[in-house]
Amino acid sequence: MRAFSQLLDGLVYTRSRNGKLALIAAYMRAAPDPDRGWALAALTGNLDLKAVKASVIGEMIRARVDPVLFEMSRDYVGDLAETVALLWPRAHDEPAELDDGSLSLSGVIDRLHNVSRAAAPDALAQMMDHLDASGRFALLKLATGGLRVGISARLAKTGFAQAFGLDVDDVEQVWHALAPPYAALFDWAEGRSPRPDPEGTPYFRPFMLAHPLEADSVDLADYAAEWKWDGIRIQIVGTGPKHGGETRLYSRGGDDITGSFPEIAQAFTGHAVLDGELLVKGEFQGGEAASFNALQQRLGRKAVSAKMMADYPAFVRLYDLLIEGDDDLRALPWEQRRTRLEAYMAQLSPDRFDLSAVIDAPDFEALADIRAGARDAAIEGIMLKRRDSPYVAGRKAALWYKWKRDPLTADCVMMYAQRGHGKRSSFYSDYTFGCWTADGELLPVGKAYSGFTDEELKWLDRFVRQNTVARFGPVREVEKTLVLEVAFDSIHDSKRHKSGLAMRFPRIARIRKDKPAAEADRIEGLKRLVS
C-alpha cells in the first residue's frame, strides 16, 4: 500500500506533466501484479468501490476522537478523508506512525469489494491501524470511491505507455477490451503475450489536426472550406448492436467524456466512428449553436442533471466519417469520406446531429469576404481541407489548415496581476484588465496570461512590482496607468462579471506605453462587439 500512497502523494505535489508521467511510469514498472493493475484502474477512474459512505467515516472518527477536536480539525484541514487520516489514533504501543507493510493494494481492494455494508466500518478500521497517514488517506479515498488526484485518465495511460515504451494510442485501442486489473495489458506490455484484440470495443482513434494557415491563399480547386465551430471537438465511437451497442465520446486528448453528455451517447446506436464538434443549442440563437460560454456550463461535470440537459441541450455537428460498420474509411480521400458522411446522416436523429456545411465560394477572395462577414458566436474561423486528404493522426503538413477569424482588439488598463505557474511562478504574469464606464469607473473585462515575449514579461513584471498599490494574498493591485492592447476571439454577455462582459481567448497583443490610461476603451464600445 505504501508504494501506491506515495504515488498519490507525489501526484498531488508534482506540478509538471512530465514529472507526473515519470512517477506513474516508475510505479508501473516497479509495483507487483496485480497491485499495479488496480492502481491503473484507480488512476483512470475505472475503480469505484463505494464500500462506505462519507458519513460512516465521520461516525468512525467521532467514536475515537473527541468530536469537538474533530470538528476543529476538519475546519482547519478541509477534506474529510485527510482530516480522518491525520487524526486516526495510533495503537498505544506504537510511538511512531508507520505503514507496517502488511497490506497490499490488491488485498485492500479485495477486502473492500467483498465486505458487507454492516461489516465495512470494522474492516476499514482494522486496515487503518496498519497504515501511516498517507496510506490511510489513500485507503479512505478508495473506500469512499472519491479518489481524485487531479490527473486525467489519458495522462495515467500515457504514464503506463511510457513505462513500457509503448505508444499511448496503441494502449487506447486495446483499453476497452480489458478490465481491471488488466493482466492481459501488462502481459503484452512486458512481452509475455501478443497485443489484446480490441475488435468490437469502442476505442479511441487519434484525431487529425490542422495547421494554422500561413500562406496568403490556397486554391479552392484543391481545398474544400468548412466552418470551424467553436465547441469541443469530439469523436463518437459506436460498436453497434452486434457488439453490445456501446457508444463512447472522446475529447481531443482521448479522454472519455461520455458521462458529461449522456444524451448524445444515447442518441447514437450505430456501428461507426465519427468526428465532429460538440455544441449546445442556445435559446437566444433561435436554436442554433450557442457560444462556447454556454457549452462550458456542461464541461467537466461527472454527473449531469436533467435541468442541465434541458437548459443546455447538446448536439454534434459532424465533420468526418472515419469508420462505417466494418469499413475503415480513413485511407480514402476526404471527398469520398464526405459523400459517405452525407449519406450516413439520414440514419441519425436530427435533434442531436447535423452536418457541418461546406462553404460554397467561387474563389479564395470570395471566401475571405464570407469569413470577414461571419459574426456567428459559434464560428471560430474556417477549415481548409485538401480534397484528397486521407484521415491521418496528428498534424500533417499541407493537408488541413485552420484559418481563424481575425481577432478583435481593445485597449484596456491593467488592474491586477498575479504570479504565474511553473516556470513563470516567479513572475507576475497573469493580468486582469478593465475598461471605463461612462461614469469614469474602471471595471474588469478579462484576464490574460499570454501573448507577450519573454522580454515583455520581464518588463511587465517590473511594472507590477514597482506600481503595486495593494496586495491580496497572491494578487497585487497596481496603479491604473498601463494600457494593454488585448486581442480576443469574441466577446459575450456575462452575468458573472460586473462589467457584464466576458472575452474568449484574450491575450496581450501589445503593451501601449505610449497611450494614457484615460484614452483606453469604454465598456459601451466593447458591448457593440458582443456576438
Partner: protein, 330 residues
C-alpha cells in the same frame, strides 16, 4: 493566585520585577525566551537572555544592553528568582522559570521535545502556572520521525542527479538543524545557502555548531549546484531568486507540511514535516508531565488545546497575545 504575574496583549508582565517577558513593544526591562522575531524585538532598555539569544538579537537589531543568563543560573529581580532552562526550540532558546511568594511560573516561549543537534533538549519543570505555546495545537499535527523525513530528502536528491533540492527553511534554527541532520546522515557534500542565511549560520558556527562545508549560492553557476542541496528562507522558494538554480525540486521543512493544502499553497513538491515546535501529543504530554494547577496558552491554535485542558481537568485560559502568529516559524 499569582497576582504578581499578569498577561497583557503585548506580553507577560512580572510586577515585582517590573519586567516583561517577550514583549512585543519596546520596554525598559525585558526577559526574552529566544531569538525569533515574534518573541525578541528590538528597542528594549535592558534585556535578560541567554548568551546565544543576546548574540542573535545583536545580529538582528544591534541590541546593546543585555545581561547574559546561563542555563540553570539563578538571578533575582525585585524579589523574583529567575532561571533559564533549555526549551529545545533553537540555539539559545529557554523557558523562563519564575519563583515568587511560594509559587512557580514556567514560561516556555516556543519549545519542542524532539532531539535537535543544534540545541540542548527541553527540560520539564513542574510548576503552578505553565505558560505554553500552541503553534501546532490541533490533533492533526503529528510530526513524524525526523529520520524518515531526512531519508526522503536524501532519496529525492540521489534520484535526481541533474537537479538540486531547494529546501525552504526558517533562517534561525530550522536551516541549521536541517544541515546538521544531513551531516549526521553522512551527507558531506557542500551545502549551498541563500544570502539571507549566511550570517545566522556563521553565528551558529561561532557557538560551536559544526555544519561542515557551506557555500553561498549567489553567483554560483547553476551547473555546479546540480545534485546539491540548497537552503533558502521559505519566501525565496517561489521567488525569482530560485530561477538561477538547476531545475530545483522545491522542498520545505516545516510542521505545516503535514497538511496537503498548506504544502500546495506554497507550491512545494517535497513537503518535509520537520518542526521546531511541539506537536499535539507533545503539547498534551508536557502538560501532564509538569502537572500545573493552571495552564496559560500564549499563541497558536489555542482553542483546541484549551478544549483538551478543560476535558482533562486542567484549568486553563488562552491569552490573546498580539503579533505571535509567525507562520514561517514552523
Amino acid at each position: 493566585m499569582a497576582h504578581w504575574i499578569e498577561p497583557h496583549p503585548t506580553g507577560i508582565y512580572v510586577r515585582p520585577a517590573d519586567a516583561w517577558i517577550d514583549p512585543s513593544q519596546p520596554q525598559e526591562r525585558a526577559l526574552v525566551t529566544h531569538g525569533h522575531a515574534d518573541h525578541a524585538r528590538g528597542g528594549h532598555g535592558h534585556v535578560w537572555a541567554t548568551r546565544e539569544t543576546l548574540a542573535i538579537m545583536a545580529l538582528r537589531y544591534g541590541t546593546a544592553s543585555g545581561t547574559a543568563v546561563g542555563y540553570g543560573e539563578e538571578i533575582r529581580l525585585g524579589g523574583v528568582t529567575i532561571r533559564y532552562v533549555p526549551a529545545g526550540h533553537v540555539l539559545g532558546s529557554a523557558q523562563i522559570i519564575l519563583d515568587h511568594a511560594g509559587e512557580r511560573v514556567v514560561v516556555t516561549g516556543d519549545y519542542k521535545r524532539r532531539p535537535d543537534p543544534t540545541c540542548l533538549p527541553f527540560e520539564p519543570v513542574p510548576c503552578d502556572i505553565f505558560v505554553t505555546e500552541a503553534t501546532f495545537g490541533l490533533p492533526v499535527f503529528h510530526h513524524p520521525d525526523t529520520g524518515s523525513e531526512m531519508d526522503r530528502l536524501l532519496h529525492a536528491l540521489h534520484a535526481n542527479p541533474d537537479r538540486c533540492v531547494l529546501v525552504g527553511a526558517y533562517a534561525l534554527g530550522k536551516a541549521q538543524r536541517v544541515i546538521c541532520e544531513l551531516r549526521a546522515r553522512g551527507h558531506h557534500d557542500p551545502i549551498y545557502i541563500h544570502g539571507a542565511l549566511e550570517r545566522m549560520c556563521a553565528l551558529y558556527a561561532d557557538f560551536g555548531v559544526d555544519m561542515g562545508k557551506l557555500r553561498g549560492a549567489t553567483g554560483v553557476p547553476a551547473k555546479e549546484m546540480r545534485g546539491a542541496i540548497v537552503l533558502a528562507p521559505p519566501s525565496a522558494l517561489n521567488d525569482r531568486w530560485s530561477r538561477r538554480l538547476p531545475d530545483p525540486i522545491a522542498a520545505m521543512a516545516s510542521g505545516w507540511m503535514r497538511v496537503r493544502q498548506r504544502a500546495r499553497q506554497r507550491n512545494v513538491e517535497l513537503p518535509l514535516v520537520i518542526s521546531d515546535h511541539a506537536d499535539w501529543d507533545e503539547l498534551t504530554d508536557t502538560i501532564r508531565e509538569v502537572a500545573p494547577s493552571e495552564t496559560w496558552i500564549t499563541h497558536g491554535r489555542e482553542e483546541a488545546l484549551l478544549h483538551w485542558c478543560m476535558t482533562h481537568q486542567y484549568r486553563a485560559r488562552a491569552l490573546a497575545l498580539v503579533g505571535r502568529e509567525d507562520e514561517e516559524d514552523g
